[in-house]
Symmetry: C2
Subunit: 632 residues, 2 copies
């Protein structure tokens, strides 16, 4: 269990030093010639000068007649000029201007008559003639170096007789996945097998950056094999990404492999996630050791590799769009690291709100959901809720501004509603997060969401939600929208091997329960039911094991990591688990009155009232809906 | 010479009606399955649900030991707990959590000792364990429909056991170039041959829009051939673009061909350029008749085809970025049309300035140069200089804001300076236009440019520029930057067949002169020289024929459209023409003092002082430079 210490270099310094050492060693762009019709989107490597003029001859610019303008001088409405056939030439647009002619008269202005044509107005010399070089003169610079070639520019080049153009060669980045445990993508991985999807993510990112990716076969965790793979990739590529084994633990050979073939500038960057990155190189070729966790890996590529690749592509770093947003909850950060936190965003009551997503570096889905990256500088120990924070956008601000922000209690119906909204309005977007029913109430109170899913039992009346609204919104300002009645029950393993029939059975020895987090409607219901039935919850093993969603509870039962949990029918059904009904409860949406008139909320209400929604809840099972979308 | 009248439908109505008729006929998106690793950038056609959980087993999240947390309870710094080898399992990150274990302790916190390991702190259950479904639960919706698949989303799909994804099929658009006169790209076109580059421009645009282009061979202007080509394309494609022959003149068969195979909704849209567009269709397949001039064609594709294609791609129209800018000069427009005007833009003295580029629909280079499109609504008859106008951006606002705005006298050196700047600073951009020396002085005065090229002879002193600066900027506020001395002379045909030796020879009968525009330094010089030599300019044929640049003058002489013109040596050299030196003149840059400190101007000054610049002017010939970049 040998242990090796890493450096902790600030990000900006790492990037600058890495670029400097590579440039000192000759890092630059390379060029190649491509046919102009294939050049759109590429970057010029040299200035482009016109070969020929465009047009390359005096071209008639109208259908009509060509003539020598002087013969028309003096023509007026009342004293037209008669031209004989010898004095004009019928022409079409694009025809060369005949010799001795210097003007074109539009066919609309030509009156046919006996012995020729009549003109009622004089022509001015060079009218309706596209003179040689009117568009582009031979020898003129059409594009300077390091310019992205637009579709129009391909036309300008072809128009000026350029058939091939010198562009920056796309760098090729070799990606080497390593690890004894990783396997090619499969839908039936065995326990302990990790699906190798990083190289797919990297390829997509590199292609977005105008770089070519070359993915190598998976290499086992063995120093000599990794070294051989790196040497091969160095031969065939302009840069190498070694993924993973970049930590300093047992079986982390990346740093050693890079040292054996080249040099390591830094091993360990002061960023989180992404700390174990290795900045290596051989001459001017970068070899980046990238951590295995996808979120770390994505950030390391973005912040440490992209600047190098942009240099190799001879283009300035694309300017990321940053916005200031209001943080939805307290956030603690380490003084040791710059931290990059995925956030969901939305515009609520005029404020742009940033809600941090799950922090785990392994949570790739959070990157797919994220609207932005909150950048917490090194030497900042976090921010209290409501702080103004800096966020790098991952979507356009319009998409974010248009999104419906839903929080509160989790129900798979929220995703289904989002889907139905998109089917009717492709621009509709939903940013949802799960903080439990009470969390939803507070989010609405703080103006951080448009809508919150709530199912809160009032122990005194047995009613749902209304008592809480009266308590937390004594002055009103919110509206309850009816959604569904849903079946709550005990989710248990297939065939119910422990013969669980009621809540009290959970206290039996050997039984492992998995609970929902405090403040969730399901937890409140569970607490209430236990109290009602005089069950001492301290006798239920696992009562303190908390999960955030119905699906998470069902997942753990499916995996035999727990024996039972209270949850909704649809979660049991997805996993093919047994379900013991306990009660029906009312699941509503709480909407702030400010938000009611927003198009996004109106779309949601319309969706709730739709036949498509009714059909969907019938298919999912465990729901009943009397009048979804109506005001309660 | 039959003539057919066109409709003049407002653009918004045309787009709406076209979409409506196509949708009524069944226009929609189609879908296909693609492997997830190839899906980045594609658009989901159905919601994507996770197949398996990610992680799909309880995974150790650290290198260290796995154990049952309860056995560590009570451990403290002073009273460590000793675990025997039977009580823990050494594990690495990613290993499955062994049965009966529910926590991982990091290797850093494990002290090896005789008979086992010592722990100085208790483990909490599930610490450093990535529980099943922590990232994604099976059955969870990962992506809703009609969502662009990000690289991270490809990872999320593979992580949850999804190998193939249903995406929107890229529509295929068939492009049919037509015309007797058009030829495949060549660098040696004959007179009357028009190089077919529109299909290359279209292909680039369609690919940017996520659509596949299929270019058909050029079809001659013959109705039956065009009709056959359209029928073939309809069979093989989802939409057809017929280019050109969309006007209503002789040999314009597009409308008839479309009517013969389908229907024409409108022929003639109230836009300029682009009026002769034809909105045709067969069932739900659009057939667009597109004018031949590239600028018209680009606009017709953008404004009339893109909305249809976005519907076929199941995505909302990308939101164009519009800005308000200050118009640099008067602009007249027709009340009959919405007009789309290419503009160059720049930020000068805090104002965003829009300068209209050449208006001709055939001027494809203006599209390559344009920073934006000024949109002049129908029923607006134009704007006076200084008006606030609405511009759709073609570049990012950052690129525009960073650009150095140069105007005034034309010299090919300006392009060379831009090129050298880009070589040193890839983010450097130059927006140049040519309005003559006097135009440059007024542009600086009005705050519409950072820098103006000037070479203005003071007839009294024989000096250059300074007298004009004193006259037009009596209160100062501007600085003259020395650039070059340049050779002015008579550009004449190769071998000087007319034996021209001096300006007076231009008045000989049969001689055809081509002049520069009034207000240009070269015109002022020419007027001065004629006056000095007592030449009556009315005796010089073509003295009123005005061109805007040295290259344009040389081009007309090269094409034997004129016999002589006053201009600079480098223009003669580019075209292999003879040159009769007349005088050396001082070419300077006038810079407003506000602009002097801008990075863009500083870069220009640094470039003028560079050895690379000196070398370039030596190569070009006809220039001398004493101290370029210094303040005069």
């Amino acid at each position: 269990m040998a242990f090796q210490y890493l450096t902790n270099v600030p990000l900006e310094q790492a990037v600058e030093d890495y670029l400097n050492v590579l440039e000192k060693n000759g890092l630059t762009h390379q060029s190649e010639h491509v046919p102009v019709p294939l050049s759109a989107g590429r970057i010029t490597a040299a200035p482009v000068y016109a070969n020929i003029c465009a047009p390359h001859y005096h071209a008639c610019a109208m259908d009509g007649i060509a003539l020598y303008a002087a013969v028309t001088f003096g023509a007026t409405e009342t004293t037209p000029v008669l031209l004989t056939d010898a004095q004009f030439v019928p022409i079409d647009t694009g025809d060369p201007l005949p010799d001795e002619c210097d003007a074109v008269v539009m066919i609309e202005d030509v009156v046919q008559t006996e012995g020729g044509v009549l003109l009622h107005a004089p022509a001015t010399p060079w009218q309706h003639v596209r003179q040689i070089g009117e568009d582009i003169c031979a020898g003129e610079m059409i594009l300077p170096s390091f310019t992205v070639i637009s579709p129009a520019a391909t036309g300008a080049m072809l128009a000026s007789g350029i058939l091939s153009v010198e562009v920056v060669k796309k760098p090729v980045v070799g990606i080497i996945p390593t690890g004894d445990e990783i396997v090619l993508p499969t839908d039936e991985p065995k326990s302990g097998e990790i699906i190798e999807f990083n190289s797919t993510i990297f390829t997509g990112m590199l292609e977005e950056w105008g770089v070519q990716a070359k993915v190598y076969p998976i290499v086992k965790d063995e120093l000599s094999l990794i070294e051989a793979a790196v040497l091969k990739a160095l031969e065939e590529c302009d840069a190498v990404v070694l993924n993973a084994g970049s930590s300093a633990g047992r079986g982390d050979f990346a740093a050693q492999a890079i040292r054996n073939v080249g040099q390591v500038l830094y091993h360990g960057i002061a960023i989180r996630p992404g700390k174990p990155a290795i900045l290596g190189y051989v001459n001017s070729k970068p070899i980046l050791g990238v951590p295995g966790y996808p979120v770390s890996a994505i950030l390391v590529l973005e912040y440490l590799l992209q600047p190098i690749l942009n240099r190799m592509c001879a283009r300035p770093m694309p300017k990321a769009t940053h916005v200031e947003a209001s943080l939805s909850r307290n956030f603690n950060s380490s003084l040791k690291y710059s931290e990059f936190v995925r956030v969901r965003m939305g515009r609520v009551q005029g404020r742009l709100i940033a809600s941090p997503l799950q922090r785990g570096a392994g949570v790739v889905s959070s990157f797919a959901k994220a609207d932005g990256i909150m950048e917490v500088p090194q030497n900042v120990e976090g921010y209290p809720a409501g702080s103004t924070v800096r966020v790098r956008l991952l979507r356009t601000i319009e998409e974010i501004e248009n999104a419906l922000v839903i929080t509160g209690s989790h129900d798979p119906l929220i995703d289904e509603i989002a889907e139905l909204m998109r089917r009717s309005w492709p621009e509709a977007a939903v940013a949802s997060s799960h903080v439990g029913s009470m969390g939803g109430i507070f989010a609405i109170k703080r103006g951080e969401a448009h809508v919150a899913g709530v199912h809160l039992l009032d122990e005194e009346t047995g009613g749902y939600n209304e008592a809480y609204i009266q308590k937390y919104f004594p002055d009103g300002g919110v509206t309850l929208i009816s959604c569904v009645q849903r079946q709550q029950g005990l989710i248990v393993q297939k065939g119910n091997p422990h013969g669980i029939k009621k809540l009290a059975d959970l206290a039996q020895p050997g039984m492992r329960y998995v609970n929902r987090q405090k403040g969730s409607g399901t937890r409140i219901l569970c607490d209430y039911l236990c109290k009602r039935d005089n069950i001492d919850t301290s006798t239920i093993y696992g009562y303190d094991r908390e999960e955030l969603t119905h699906n998470a509870v069902a997942t753990l039962i499916k995996a035999s990591s727990a024996d039972a949990g209270l949850g909704i029918y649809s979660a049991a059904q997805i996993y093919g688990l047994d379900f013991i009904p306990v009660c029906m409860e009312q699941y509503d949406f709480l909407v702030s009155d400010d938000a009611l008139k927003l198009p996004a909320v109106q779309r949601m209400l319309e969706t709730l009232k739709s036949e498509a929604f009714s059909q969907r809840i019938r298919e999912m099972g465990g729901y009943e809906a009397a009048n979804p979308g109506s005001f309660r």
